[in-house]
Subunit: 422 residues, 2 copies
Amino acid sequence: MMKLNDYTKSNELFRRALKVVPAGVYGHLGPASGCAVPISAFPLFAEKAQGAYFWDADGNRFVDYMCAYGPNILGYNDPDVEAAAIAQIKKGDCMTLPTELLVDFAELMVDTIAMADWAFFAKNGGDVTQFATMIAKAKTNRKKLVLVKGFYHGVAPWCQHIGYSGIIKEDVMNNFYIDWNAPEQLEQLVKEHPGEIAAFISTPYYHPTMVDNALPAPGYWEKIRKICDDNGIVLIIDDVRCGFRLNLKGSDYHYGIKADISCFCKALANGYNVSALCGTNEMRGAAEDIMYTGSYWLSAVPFAAAIAAIKKMKEIDVAKVVTEKGKKLTEGLVKVAKSHDFDLIVTGEPSMWYMRLGNDYPSTILHQEWVAECVKRGVFFTNHHNLFINAALSDEDIQFTWDVADEAYKAVRRMHPELNRN
Amino acid sequence: MMKLNDYTKSNELFRRALKVVPAGVYGHLGPASGCAVPISAFPLFAEKAQGAYFWDADGNRFVDYMCAYGPNILGYNDPDVEAAAIAQIKKGDCMTLPTELLVDFAELMVDTIAMADWAFFAKNGGDVTQFATMIAKAKTNRKKLVLVKGFYHGVAPWCQHIGYSGIIKEDVMNNFYIDWNAPEQLEQLVKEHPGEIAAFISTPYYHPTMVDNALPAPGYWEKIRKICDDNGIVLIIDDVRCGFRLNLKGSDYHYGIKADISCFCKALANGYNVSALCGTNEMRGAAEDIMYTGSYWLSAVPFAAAIAAIKKMKEIDVAKVVTEKGKKLTEGLVKVAKSHDFDLIVTGEPSMWYMRLGNDYPSTILHQEWVAECVKRGVFFTNHHNLFINAALSDEDIQFTWDVADEAYKAVRRMHPELNRN
């Protein structure tokens, strides 16, 4: 029997946090995000990280399949990225002027991302998705946006929902929402609102939380591209989550089209704090006309880290590496599930797959119980968000994950003697 | 005669940048910001920074009075801040969970900032000013905001202007604008729009670009506080620029009142990438209800840096230090001006003063010429933005600045033989 984790110190820290931080830990890393249910199975604070692992505040080690929700792609504390960052720290980070690294980084993005004629850098994924919509409005002199239901493009008011706290009607009144893989709905909107739609913004494939993920249907992106072209609509790809995990040239390229604007963050600098917007020459003038800046946006250290990260990602062909590791891992997880008569449903791209136990659908209780048993044994999954692969994940880590999954299925079976093993 | 700077490499870099970056260098660090006129007098790229100086791409050294537009308060590469950051980098930065540093940092903010019952961290100043307005809307169930003309609260659409590129009517239709030091205008708005105003948001004193800065009139903040209290309006202090340069307990405390929400960034971590929102207990529930998060918001390194920076700022009483250095510097600059029969008008707080030559007002040409002559000799001012003092600025640096100012006045006199020396 594997030892189960103890979270005494995590819980103590959380009690302290509740006094001075809203909700204790806010946002997607916090227990209120709903990704970690039951909370008691999950650590709440980390102590350190290395490669494919993090250690929590109680010293428990986890094979980490959240990868900081995406940023960790090469492995935590990648030596090449760290060396570049620390060398730059000694020279300067946030200064009165940008450094040559701004130019080097932009040139590297233009060389790397197929659709890019130029690049712009900020801090949050949401900084660049918002800028993308502003560029589209400036370029087209229109104000309507089309989003895909289940979207997540950040937390700015324009991409939240009526009924969400702090959001008012005016924030979202110019948004239309269509279903995934439904280009005919975009076509219909164009007919009903001719000359009004500034942009269509979407992730490269469908990866919301809580539901099975879905790849683009054959011909989907070509149809969307054509509708946009025919109607002067700016096509914005939100590549914040997928970027560099599907294809180093961009996920639009991966799926056979060319975006007008692509947004990157997360894996861009292996965790260093930077986001990027790439545009075509047609978008450049509009981007230049907009006032858009921030205190840390031209800081040098994240640029140095990003340059080192992208060079290494290209050198090892990281998209291929994480895709192959993801295939191997998930195929094994499905087999382990089957050996216990469980049906593990895996969707999305292998490098950032989504999974759920199908056995008590639409309930997610069995799934949550199995995830909890994995976490308590040192494999960090969350319940209802896609997971992530990083390049430091070894065959031994994958085997360990299968072993933990196996133990976790046994534990779930023990908890549910009422379940028939068909 | 002092040697004048050569910017050959800066200009080469800028020509490269123009191909791959919108406007070459975008935003407030770029020449298109209008802070650096004539561009030819200014370096465009930095190589490194240390203490009170940065060196440009051509190796020219500058005594830097922009301080990265605020973040540099202890001196670039402060050894204590750097040691804390680098120690944390080796453990982990952007991970799947926050570290204990989140709690330590929040506790330190609550101990330090007089009005704070809790703290929330993000990346940009604009992340927290926007969150502040969302909290106010959620708390009051109202949607109107009151801003002070000449405001700058970031680049999100809600705090830009109609007519600005990428901005639409719906972005700003719930904003009212009043003059600085005019509490009667807030009172009037409350009468005209009873029960509609969610928040009044303002900097602690008036420090827009292009115009003389202005301190609060006696009784101003007490009047504003009372109008807010009497009408259920949330009082938001945007302390992004002033924070830690006026008073370590917050600029609202400095001016004798207590804000409901205060926003910090810039000097908070001496250049490490973090912003903070502090709130009272009355605001906590509304903050907890709002979905507001980002990929890097709980990263550990900026927290470690901020903790070290705040401890050091308290240890050396940095607000007092930069205020005294600012007084000494600006009094000397006024004297040097006078010795050449120029009238240098200094406004705002000494640690982040605003200045202009009054001799050809409302033209700013003489002022721009004098600033340009200073920059060409190694003192980095910009023309129409407040300047900043950092604690590493030495008496020798101040003397050097006076000497350069003196030479620069002489140069301006040589350029304008037509000017009568009354």
